[in-house]
Symmetry: C2
Subunit: 116 residues, 2 copies
């Protein structure tokens, strides 16, 4: 089977979504959390990925609800600038997602060569 349909410049996209009661953790929230980790701000992170602030809140709240703990903690700065950062549990969950996605991609790289 893998011998048929050989084609140059073929690649793949993989989209991993974690499901609890409903789908709640995929590439979108993972990217958002990485950006929050970088900027310390939900608003800046959402803006950087062209996502509305209300959408960002919605997907973060859904994840918290599914997991039963908060992904983020917020500290209010002296000048009214709130700082958001990942909780230890939130960071561990994000790492687990990233690791699962990375290992899946390693397998997919091999399978692409095998089948296409």
């Amino acid at each position: 089977m893998g011998e048929d349909n050989k084609k140059k410049n073929i690649s793949y996209n993989l989209r991993l979504t974690i499901i609890g009661e409903e789908k709640f953790f995929g590439p979108g929230i993972a990217k958002l959390l990485h950006l929050i980790d970088e900027y310390g701000s939900i608003r800046s992170a959402a803006m950087a990925m062209d996502m509305s602030y209300s959408k960002a809140w919605k997907i973060l709240r859904r994840a918290d609800k599914e997991l039963g703990y908060p992904m983020l903690e917020s500290k209010n700065g002296g000048d009214g600038g709130g700082k958001s950062s990942l909780t230890p549990e939130g960071r561990a969950f994000l790492n687990n997602y990233d690791n699962m996605e990375r290992e899946l991609a390693e397998t997919a790289d091999k399978l692409l060569k095998k089948y296409f």
Copy 2:
């Protein structure tokens, strides 16, 4: 890492898309082709998955263009009923996609247990 965030009833969804010049082969067209194989009709297959006939044609044409061969062949029946079936190359490509997806899911099953 895999020891944190243990949660019951957690599962995943994986979406594999094959890319040439652009994305052209994912779960949607794979399902459509399986239904065409079952019904012998593009129209019936599209209807069964609540897809418009024009959308079905569009995604089939895009795959043919990317692959450089037709996924389907059509035979006109005596009473005006056209029959569509997979070409050998189209069937081989679909099988390769299905196999890659299945083997990825086997890896994902293991990784889900490892990380969540």
